[in-house]
């Protein structure tokens, strides 16, 4: 029983990270109907930005409190990733808007290749380990919960509330929802569609960068290929929850995290990714609209 609860805690932590990445996928897919393949690499880029900020802090300002260091890593990571995603949208996706459907998918795959190879070339191909930032572990009813797990879950909860507020309660969020439902109509009613889409990319990238920072803190290592597998799993989460739905993305992320850690705990760890991908295939085949998604209406 304790073992099971322990795995639940681990899965919840992992799921929070996936959920944060999944939001970027789901928002972009909802608004322009495109799989942003480069999103996983934006997450990796955010992790690298956090890593470099961490090294800057330890080299030049030794003795910075951990909370401040973490906050700085997150903020700089968010800014950098947001700028990258904004630029990518500007140069690689916007010129192809209105072109045929495969075109932005191909540039997105191209951008994903560019980002991971850019980091490989500039930062080197090796694993980048860092010393643990927070290492306290609490015992609770025989279950050990580490401080970093608590930090990850709390930060995820805070950011999701902020996001939920932005999307549902502000003029910006209204513009986003309007563009998602019908971009032409939104444009006719005075919504700046291009700007709204840019903002969506920026928001998604910021969340992905936070996820990258958390990933770096949790595992203590980052490498240039880290964008792909978490990226695909986060996309799986977005699809599982129902693409286009924010709560769905988080729910999907948590489910994927739980499935992954429970599978590793009770079956073989080698096939944990096979399990995740099989779930993706099964969900898409039997319920393509996901858990919280709206069913797609086929128009003639």
């Amino acid at each position: 029983m304790e073992y099971f609860v322990q795995q639940l805690v681990n899965g919840l932590t992992l799921g929070s990270i996936y959920g944060m990445i999944a939001i970027g996928y789901t928002m972009v897919y909802g608004i322009i109907g495109m799989i942003n393949f480069a999103h996983g690499d934006i997450f990796m880029l955010g992790g690298f930005a956090a890593l470099i900020v961490f090294l800057l802090l330890t080299t030049f300002m030794a003795g910075v409190p951990v909370v401040l260091a973490l906050l700085l890593m997150m903020i700089v990571g968010m800014l950098t990733a947001a700028l990258w995603n904004w630029t990518i949208e500007r140069v690689a996706y916007r010129p192809l808007r209105g072109s045929f459907r495969l075109a932005p998918l191909i540039t997105a795959i191209g951008m994903s290749i560019v980002l991971s190879n850019f980091i490989q070339v500039t930062q080197g191909p090796r694993n980048k380990p860092i010393p643990p930032l927070v290492s306290s572990v609490y015992e609770l009813f025989g279950i050990s919960i580490s401080l970093k797990q608590i930090v990850i879950v709390v930060i995820t909860a805070i950011l999701l509330s902020v996001f939920w507020y932005i999307v549902n309660r502000t003029p910006l969020g209204r513009a986003q929802r309007a563009t998602e439902q019908d971009s032409k109509m939104a444009a006719l009613l005075g919504v700046d569609v291009d700007r709204t889409i840019s903002v969506t990319f920026i928001m998604g990238a910021a969340l992905a960068a936070v996820a990258g920072t958390m990933y770096l803190m949790y595992y203590g290592v980052v490498v240039f290929t880290d964008g792909f597998a978490p990226g695909v799993k986060a996309f799986t989460a977005a699809v599982l929850g129902g693409i286009g739905s924010l709560p769905g993305a988080v729910l999907g992320g948590l489910l994927i995290g739980l499935i992954e850690s429970l599978w590793s705990a009770y079956f073989t760890i080698d096939y944990k990714d096979v399990a995740t991908f099989s779930i993706l295939a099964i969900v898409l085949i039997f319920k393509p609209s996901g858990i919280l998604g709206r069913p797609e209406v086929e128009k003639v």
């Binding site: 192809l96 072109s99 045929f100 191209g110 070339v121 930062q123 898409l284």
Partner: protein, 461 residues
């Protein structure tokens, strides 16, 4: 007169001011993008701790290049392009006479390919030809064949497949495993590999019949990854990440390509060299690729090919006209997969070694990129795209003179995939319809007209 001059002058200065503004802006963006990743580099020191090294000069070069580039772009390139466009629009329409070369492009290309190995041998000698025939010829032709195979699924039937490399892997492992465990020859296993891959095409195609567009893409991606992960983890059979090595070579009517007494070189009275085997492989893959093209061209004229294209254009109309979309989709998957399987077993026989490393998602992406960049559905365009994208990145390995510019530590190979990705983006933005953006309809009423690619749909299968 003076008035006109002053307006143009003020327009010019306005343009310069705008160009300067945009240059500063893009300089700032570049600074923001690269300050952490180019200005600072994480390195391991002797104690294996991460340290930062600083490269501010490199960062400054990046920013200056971006600023100057943007300035020239806004101040000179854009007005010039606009002017040229206006001039082109004003000029009367001239009926273009197709030259002899462009009319007979494919025939000329085939003859050139057949003559390629002898010409290379004549130019650089038997040993020197190894690199050109193997790295350029065989490597590019494998991708041409794979892209033509995928073209059946994506270009003709309009089903977006991101896991094509799975069938390539099935073909490669079929040959590798059956030849090592049972000692069967390449010529027996080539059709077996194709058949097995086609079966897998049906098996993987069956559950995804109801899916459309992006969902299909993601599920096929998942299947591709599942097959790769199984290859990695099923170590008893596939030997996992170590891969299968020492795979038997192919033979030509029972003649082996080795140094033995009855080997190819000894029989022909030629000096022993591995180049003959490579040349044999070159003709083998050329034949396989041409077979793919031939089958594609023939199938397009048959009912099944027309059903594929109808499916691509409009699935609902297709169904209401009584076409069985299930079998249509499955045949497309199976046919495409079969050619992937052929290419896979050729890959195994060429490398003599297969490991799951060769069948990552990136390969699927590269093949799909070639199909789309070539202008989906156009065989010539796809071949051109394969030559440009694969040949271009192979040439990077040869650019040793760059070492003289950037210093001895500069390795152009490192930049291969980076440039490949950039090329994908640039070509797509520049020519969203691919290199050959027009299609000839297979079925037509009275008169055959070439249709611009923009008018044909890409399918939502």
């Amino acid at each position: 007169m003076a008035n006109v001059a002053s307006t143009t002058a003020s327009a010019g200065s306005e343009l310069t001011a705008r160009a300067l503004r945009e240059a500063v802006f893009s300089g700032l963006i570049t600074l923001g993008l690269f300050v952490l990743f180019v200005g600072l580099k994480t390195d391991q020191n002797i104690r294996n701790e991460l340290i930062l090294t600083q490269h501010w000069v490199l960062l400054a070069i990046f920013v200056i290049v971006a600023m100057v580039g943007r300035f020239l772009m806004v101040a000179y390139a854009q007005p010039w392009l606009a002017q040229r466009k206006a001039a082109k629009a004003a000029a009367p329409e001239v009926a273009k006479e197709e030259s002899f070369f462009s009319r007979n492009f494919s025939k000329i290309a085939i003859v050139a390919l057949v003559l390629y190995p002898p010409v290379i041998i004549a130019l650089v000698g038997v040993q020197g030809s190894l690199k050109w025939v193997d790295n350029f010829g065989v490597q590019i032709l494998i991708y041409v064949m794979l892209a033509w195979g995928l073209n059946i699924v994506v270009g003709l039937a309009g089903l977006l497949d991101l896991g094509y490399v799975a069938f390539y892997a099935v073909g490669a492992y079929t040959y590798a495993l059956l030849s090592t465990y049972f000692g069967l020859s390449f010529w027996v296993l080539l059709p077996v590999a194709g058949l097995l891959a086609a079966c897998w095409g049906v098996v993987l195609g069956f559950p995804v019949l109801r899916l459309r567009g992006d969902y299909l893409a993601i599920v096929t991606l998942a299947f591709g990854e599942i097959i790769r992960l199984v290859l990695i983890n099923w170590t008893e059979v596939t030997k996992g990440t170590f891969g299968v090595s020492g795979i038997a070579k192919a033979t030509l009517f029972g003649i082996k390509f080795d140094a033995s007494k009855d080997g190819f070189a000894a029989l022909m009275g030629l000096p022993i060299s591995s180049a003959y085997y490579k040349i044999f492989l070159f003709y083998l893959i050329l034949g396989l690729a041409l077979l793919t093209a031939f089958v594609t061209i023939r199938l397009r004229r048959m009912p099944v090919g027309r059903a594929w294209e109808a499916l691509r254009e409009d699935e609902i109309a297709c169904r209401s006209l009584g076409i069985n979309t299930t079998t249509t989709k499955l045949t497309a998957f199976a046919t495409g997969a079969m050619f992937g399987g052929f290419a896979g077993s050729f890959f195994a026989v060429r490398q003599g070694f297969v490991s799951p490393e060769s069948f990552v998602f990136l390969e699927s992406a590269v093949i799909l990129a070639i199909v789309v960049l070539g202008g989906m559905g156009s065989l010539t365009g796809i071949a051109v795209a394969a030559v440009v994208m694969i040949g271009g990145t192979e040439i990077l390995r040869e650019l040793t003179f760059l070492k003289m510019i950037f210093g001895p530590n500069f390795t152009p190979e490192l930049y291969r995939m980076l440039i490949f990705g950039l090329a994908m983006v640039v070509v797509m933005v520049w020519k969203p319809r691919g290199f050959v953006g027009s299609r000839e309809p297979t079925a037509f009423l009275r008169e055959r007209r070439a249709v611009s690619g923009s008018f044909t749909k890409e399918g939502h299968g």
